[in-house]
Symmetry: C2
């Protein structure tokens, strides 16, 4: 277990990547906002299989936060993150300052139009523009051959995959199964905000998704009925505020009314002052 | 003089570039829309000094044309272009179909916000969004170490340079002096549209710019007076329709009222049914 090397500037990271690629090495990248959990470490372990060199990035990206969102209080723990990344076998950690990523006069943004409509985008205007932009920057800085993301942020994964395809980045995008706590709660850095009753009620999100998946297994194909069930499961405990529960085509993210091919149920729910998201595959064939 | 190899697909071009870079070769790229003239060939010759391998691209990019613009009638001459590119020593010509560049469900666009305001952007909404997007794609496809553009499209050069800086493309952008006909007309593929009186009147654009530069040399620092003079020179012949004549800071493209540091005078003028652009450096120190 060697300590990953920390890189703070664009030029140094590009120079490391250029030398590695000239030496014929493959680079796999795991972009994160830090405050790492076991879900992130699963991404790093997958990255180790995809590349000779693993670069994790830690950057709490201001352009993907709305003006009333949690940018200032987003949890941070660089020392803890470094220890975890070392244990998972990370080679480099790209950890830039905001001024390195967005210097004065910064003015370029990437929009992935269709994939950035509805779902989280309806409640977080500009969020996926910020995500697409920073990920494109990180790709140009790290120059990876592959990059690994979690399925938990499913719409984000779709936005990034579409951007990579559309802009012809020569990068393989890999989405990894959501890692969950024992009680089913999807791991998320934002779970650190949860305490007491909110934490106890939070697993209702995954219970709702599991219930919908079970109904599909039993033959239910009507999306509205699945959503009604999920809504009831979440409403059964505490006083959640449901932003959305939707069923979408898992490839195109188009809304679907019947589960005829693999779909995704996605939801966003506030437990107290914490916004949580989760999603699950609904596969009529596998059922 | 060997014939350049023509490459039509993203995957083949990326494979060629990957192999070249692994072999330690530098790639220089000259993006064009074809119908090449001596200005383009000057770019190729400059590219040969910047890289071991020169890749010219020929693609009439639909996303940078407005619905009422000249996409359909934009001049094309692939055979002639190939002969010229061969004579200038081009190694590869990337020449994709529109469907290769913009497949079904294409949805990603890049905006360079400040540099894409005013000047041509005021008359060609969406133009620089199309330019930035296709150039980012070409950069990901060709993977050049350097790319060469003409100063004639000065705002375009600024938009591209800003995008490269903002998105951290590891690519050197080089702008080359405008190449002119003997009578001063800036070389442009669109000059093919000009005939008769329009062609005879077209050199008034460069005469206007030269007159302004001369005034700066004689001590004039007032941008409004320079613009007034340029306007008078252009209005003296035919019935031109002036879209804009402006003086901007040549780094930031901010409007300026006094020539205190290097500035650029830029203009767009219709001669008959042909829209022409041109620009010139106004340098108070060199004067």
């Amino acid at each position: 277990m060697t300590k990953p090397r920390v890189v703070k500037t664009v030029s140094r990271m590009q120079s490391i990547s250029r030398d590695a690629k000239r030496a014929g090495k493959k680079i796999a990248c795991v972009p994160t906002m830090g405050y790492l959990h076991d879900g992130h470490l699963a991404l790093v372990r997958a990255a180790k299989k995809l590349g000779d060199i693993v670069v994790a990035t830690i950057f709490v990206n201001p352009t993907q936060f709305g003006p009333k969102e949690d940018l200032a209080r987003y949890p941070r723990d660089f020392r803890g993150d470094m220890a975890k990344l070392a244990s998972a076998g990370t080679d480099y950690v790209y950890y830039p300052a905001a001024s390195e990523m967005y210097p004065e006069n910064y003015q370029t943004y990437i929009n992935v139009e269709k994939a950035s409509r509805g779902l989280c985008a309806a409640f977080r205007p500009g969020h996926f523009r910020g995500v697409a932009t920073v990920v494109a920057k990180l790709f140009n800085i790290v120059q990876p051959d592959a990059a690994v993301f979690g399925n938990k942020d499913f719409q984000q994964l779709k936005v990034i995959a579409q951007m990579v395809k559309d802009l012809n980045f020569p990068i393989r995008i890999v989405g990894l199964e959501t890692v969950r706590e024992k009680d089913g709660l999807a791991m998320s850095s934002r779970n650190a905000y949860l305490s007491g009753e909110d934490r106890r009620n939070a697993p209702s999100l995954s219970r709702a998704l599991f219930a919908a998946r079970k109904m599909v297994g039993q033959g239910e194909r009507n999306a509205a009925k699945l959503i009604k069930k999920a809504r009831a499961v979440i409403r059964a405990v505490g006083s959640p505020r449901i932003e959305y529960i939707e069923v979408r085509d898992c490839e195109t993210l188009e809304p679907v009314s019947r589960i005829e091919k693999p779909c995704q149920m996605l939801l966003a729910v506030w437990q107290g002052k914490t916004r949580l998201i989760d999603n699950i595959r609904l596969n009529p064939k596998r059922s």
